[in-house]
Symmetry: C2
Subunit: 135 residues, 2 copies
């Protein structure tokens, strides 16, 4: 049994090489544009600059057969289960990113600190819960 993901948009970023991309957002990731398909535009209503959101992406260049990895690719460290790491290489390579909305132009959102590379498919946006548990 499999399920079918339909990307709702793409990342536009100056990062183009996965080997050079930061491993985590707080390690020097740049601003990037999230460019949404016109037919999901209504779903962006009330997303306003200045707030943080959770962005889910599909890391389409990942190797899906990986189950054991060296943490952070450091072969001097013992292998661990991939579900104990944030490696992009995993059976369902879904990227999870907390980003700040910086600006909006219709169906395009500018976000800070995104370590995903250019043209990465976007799957979903969710509000951060915790401070605001209401939604």
């Amino acid at each position: 049994m499999t399920y079918d993901l339909r990307p709702i948009g793409r990342v536009e970023s100056t990062l183009t090489d996965t080997a050079l991309a930061p491993r985590q957002a707080d390690e020097g990731a740049p601003e990037a544009w999230l460019v949404f398909e016109p037919d999901v535009g209504e779903g962006l209503r009330d997303l306003v600059p200045g707030t943080d959101v959770i962005l889910l992406t599909w890391l389409d260049r990942a190797d899906r057969d990986v189950l054991l990895v060296h943490p952070r690719g450091d072969t001097t460290r013992p292998e661990t289960g991939v579900f104990n790491t944030r490696s992009p290489h995993r059976p369902n390579p879904i990227g999870l990113h907390r980003v700040r909305l910086v600006a909006r132009e219709q169906n395009r959102l500018l976000v800070s600190n995104l370590e995903a590379v250019d043209q990465t498919p976007i799957l979903d946006i969710k509000p951060v819960l915790g401070e605001v548990s209401e939604r």
Copy 2:
């Protein structure tokens, strides 16, 4: 262009009715078992009880055509974009849950406070990192 998700396991829970399931984990969600496929078992290495993890699920009973929703289903509140909510009904219905690992039995993990219903497909497990940990 679409991508195919292959579930790595299923939720076993006493929650069976999506209409009765809590909207958020902190609203009375029960413990549940995560039962993994034998062929991904190696990926669970080093996941130990007592830690929190991010669980991604596929909310397979969701309506994927929804773009506008009343927050928390309350029709007295104005509609907002689905990406501004945690509604399960959305184009790619990926559930994002922060859960605590309570116990482990080989390829089964017992977790606390999971609002997903019985037989929900499991997509991924990730460690909590800094502030990306928000549910």
